[in-house]
């Protein structure tokens, strides 16, 4: 059924599409879960809606409340839509080195943006938001990095959708940010698919983003449980951009840059399966489409030029 009472009700049930040209063989296949087909165009609609509805059920959110969240983009955009429809105010704390499209979308939805310094990336946004929350006890910080409803949204929806569409799944690959996607889907699949491999792809940014004052200011999301993963890859901008363009060239899929990083890790799994002569059905998450990143220059010129333009930006 493709008729829904409202935009919020149309969440999820995204297509899983095969990649016949990028898959190495009929025995080793790649499948993309197109999460850009969600209400605001990213996988973050699932945790955002789940976190708001959980807070409503818990009595934390009542009409007119102000919601606060540290976010580098997609979670903020999802929350902005949900808050608009449900009548909450939203304040997003966002690092200044994020794309202009994300800011414009947030403003259009009526969210207020507080900017955190570029150096330190999202770590700084988290720190600023925690301080704001302490100063304004009446604001509700959903806190995607530690909110169990984030991972639960994927355990309850994305995981079951993937298994229903691809019961022969052998590998699952997704991006690692809040870790909610990998924790939720990873746990769901582990309980039902013996031997399934859960693989994380983490964006490796330019030096500015790692410019913390002290190594102890490092940040590991409270949701993270390393036991859910089998391996974790750090993917730099050149590899992410190359794969993003390959997705367009060979499969016609216009994805965001973080999806390129995820595909890079998925192709490494495919290569291992081919070399060991094993059958594989590798499902990965297409986190969003490329529209919000056009201004970064990621889709113009050579890979080297594009990578240079991404230096210092939060591209995932």
């Amino acid at each position: 059924m493709a008729r829904y009472d409202s935009l919020l009700d149309s969440l999820g049930h995204t297509p899983l599409v095969g990649l016949p040209r990028l898959s190495p063989s009929a025995e080793v296949r790649l499948w993309a879960k197109l999460e850009d087909r969600n209400p605001t165009g990213s996988v973050k609609d699932r945790p955002a809606i789940a976190m708001v509805e959980r807070a409503e059920r818990d009595g934390l959110l009542t009409p007119g409340c102000t919601v606060l969240e540290p976010t580098s983009g997609n979670t903020g955009i999802s929350l902005a839509m949900v808050c608009k429809l449900k009548g909450y105010n939203l304040i997003c704390v966002m690092p200044e080195n994020t794309s202009v499209e994300r800011r414009q979308l947030l403003e259009m939805y009526g969210a207020e943006i507080r900017t955190s310094p570029a150096a330190g990336g999202s770590n700084e946004a988290v720190a600023v938001a925690k301080k704001l929350a302490a100063d304004h006890p009446d604001w509700v910080m959903l806190y995607q990095y530690g909110n169990l409803a984030n991972a639960q949204a994927h355990y309850d929806t994305t995981g079951p959708e993937i298994l229903a569409d691809c019961p022969e799944i052998t590998h699952f690959v997704a991006g690692l940010g809040t870790t909610g996607t990998l924790m939720g889907i990873g746990r769901f699949l582990r309980e039902r698919v013996p031997g399934v491999r859960i693989v994380a792809a983490e964006p490796r940014y330019g030096e500015l983003v790692y410019g913390l004052r002290n190594i102890d200011e490092g940040f590991v999301p409270e949701l993270y449980d390393a036991d859910v993963l089998d391996s974790r890859f750090s993917v730099g901008p050149e590899d992410a951009l190359r794969r993003t363009r390959q997705l367009i060239d060979e499969e016609g899929i216009f994805a965001g840059i973080s999806t390129g990083a995820i595909l890079h890790a998925a192709l490494a799994q495919a290569d291992r399966a081919v070399r060991s002569g094993q059958r594989a059905d590798i499902v990965f998450i297409e986190a969003d489409a490329g529209w919000k990143y056009l201004s970064t220059g990621a889709y113009a010129g050579t890979i080297e030029e594009a990578a240079e333009r991404l230096e210092g930006q939060l591209w995932a």
Binding site: S72, G120, S122, A125, G175, T178, E202, G218, S231
Partner: protein, 91 residues
């Protein structure tokens, strides 16, 4: 041939500002000891007294997180690249 370590900005005080330094070792643990012999104090920032990686430090061997390989006992070979990064948030 040797093994290359990529050093994050925050730890370059130990490498005289160098972004990358070289060293040797059959395992990651040995490699850190070798690096520390020329860049005193670096090892203490990476591993605890028991040799396990500090919580907010991520170490990648040719782009793969060593915590999922063999941790400090991960074997290394000539030509490997070890990338050290502080843990950062996403989302």
């Amino acid at each position: 041939m040797a093994i290359e370590a990529r050093i994050p900005t925050i730890l370059r005080t130990y490498t005289a500002g160098e972004k990358a330094v070289e060293g040797n070792g059959l395992t990651l643990a040995e490699f850190f000891v070798d690096l520390d012999s020329r860049h005193a104090g670096l090892r203490d920032r990476l591993v605890g007294e028991d040799g396990s990686l500090n919580r907010f430090v991520n170490v990648y061997l040719n782009d793969e997180d060593v915590r999922f390989l063999g941790g400090p006992e991960t074997p290394l070979s000539d030509g490997d690249v070890v990338t050290i990064l502080p843990a950062v948030a996403g989302g």
